[in-house]
């Protein structure tokens, strides 16, 4: 979404703040740790939480893009199909993750 829809991103405050939060979350996760619980990864929670608004407003942008897209523009259709394929892969992996945690 960021690459394919950069022009929309520049005017979308929701996506801008969501990306900033994700970057801050990634930096906290990568740079900080609790010396007494080195392997706990407790500083990774901010990154996971930041992904919520990031995905929500990315899906919103994808839906707006789909609504406005022209079927005659093959390049745009290709990019849209690619974006939906990525979303499908994210959801499939989410389902696998739930399944693995529930059923082992």
């Amino acid at each position: 979404m960021l690459i394919a829809r950069f022009r929309s991103f520049t005017s979308d405050s929701y996506l801008q703040l969501a990306w900033l939060m994700t970057i801050v979350g990634a930096l906290e996760r990568g740079l900080l740790l609790e010396p007494d619980h080195r392997g706990s990864g407790n500083w990774s929670w901010g990154y996971h939480i930041a992904l919520n608004p990031l995905f929500l407003y990315s899906v919103a942008e994808l839906l707006r893009w789909s609504k406005a897209a022209s079927w005659n523009d093959r390049r745009q259709m290709g990019l849209l199909i690619g974006a939906y394929a990525l979303l499908g892969l994210h959801v499939w992996n989410g389902l696998l993750y739930v399944k693995e945690y529930t059923f082992g």
Partner: protein, 291 residues
């Protein structure tokens, strides 16, 4: 069924739409309930939090973020049901609330009214996780990669509806330059304080991000700075109390100074991601759609 009033974007849902959304949210609630009760049986993350409920409420154990424990205990007492079932109900309600909020935000920001689009989109947004299969095996999604929803973590699930709503209203608040509207500022500030009591990590990423956002938008004049401080002041006080409970109190009790913060330079993340390319691949596979 679709009515627009007074030129605004207000949409009053008909009975069929209301019934479909209610059925979807109820299905999510009951699916979540079964999921968490099963996790409890198998002794995974959720059950650890549930086991702590009684000891936190009875003051035998200090929890710096006790909202899940008190909500679970309160529901268990009110409905006279076992604590694990009450905990599963709290998280089921949080998942259903998150789904409802996602549908509402998608309606607001896209103008789409079709539930055949909104319901699958909300389900996808709730479930998305780092893309590992079919490209990688043996990688761990939670520690080392990323997921929108860390399903096993009770506090993250309970926090999610607060994150989604407060983030949406915060951006509206900034965009409409409402920094002098003290009622809205107070409501957001209370939401951030509540979120800190559920899990502190949201405010720990949001506050620096909002500071940078203000800086980029050249909003950091005296009014902007005062608004920023007012937004995060109650949450900041709670963070200080949490720091005292988690680290300082124990150090004082043990009579020795302990290091509370260390620096890692991406080593832990790289080791736990278990994908070729380490942190870079982990970020790309986690944020593939947003990127």
């Amino acid at each position: 069924m679709n009515s627009m009033t007074g030129g605004t974007n207000y949409h009053r849902p008909g009975w069929l739409e209301t019934t479909i959304v209610a059925a979807y949210l109820a299905a999510l609630f009951f699916l979540s309930l079964q999921y968490y009760l099963r996790l409890d049986v198998e002794g995974k993350g959720f059950s650890r939090h549930v086991q702590r409920v009684e000891s936190v409420v009875r003051g035998k154990r200090e929890s710096p973020h006790p909202v899940f424990h008190y909500a679970t205990y309160g529901l268990s007492r009110a409905l006279n049901i076992p604590v694990p079932r009450a905990g599963a109900m709290v998280l089921g309600a949080a998942n259903a609330a998150s789904a409802g909020i996602i549908i509402w935000i998608l309606m607001q920001s896209t103008g789409i009214r079709s539930l055949w689009v909104l319901i699958p989109a909300s389900f996808a947004t709730l479930l998305s996780a780092s893309i590992q299969r079919p490209f990688f095996t043996r990688s761990h999604i939670v520690i080392g990669n990323g997921a929108v929803s860390v399903w096993v973590n009770s506090t993250s699930i309970l926090l999610r509806p607060v994150v989604l709503l407060s983030f949406h209203f915060l951006v509206q608040f900034i965009d409409r330059n409402r920094l002098s509207n003290w009622r809205q500022l107070g409501t957001l500030s209370a939401a951030f304080a509540l979120s800190t009591l559920i899990k502190p990590n949201y405010v720990l990423v949001l506050a620096p991000a909002v500071g940078l956002f203000f800086l980029a938008r050249r909003l950091l004049d005296w009014k902007g700075l005062a608004g920023l401080v007012a937004l995060f002041f109650p949450a900041g006080l709670i963070l200080l109390w949490q720091y005292y409970v988690t680290y300082l109190k124990r150090s004082i009790r043990q009579g020795k100074r302990r290091r509370t913060l260390g620096f890692d330079l991406f080593r832990l993340w790289s080791r736990k991601s278990r994908v070729p390319g380490g942190v870079f691949t982990s970020i790309v596979s986690t944020c593939a759609l947003p990127l």
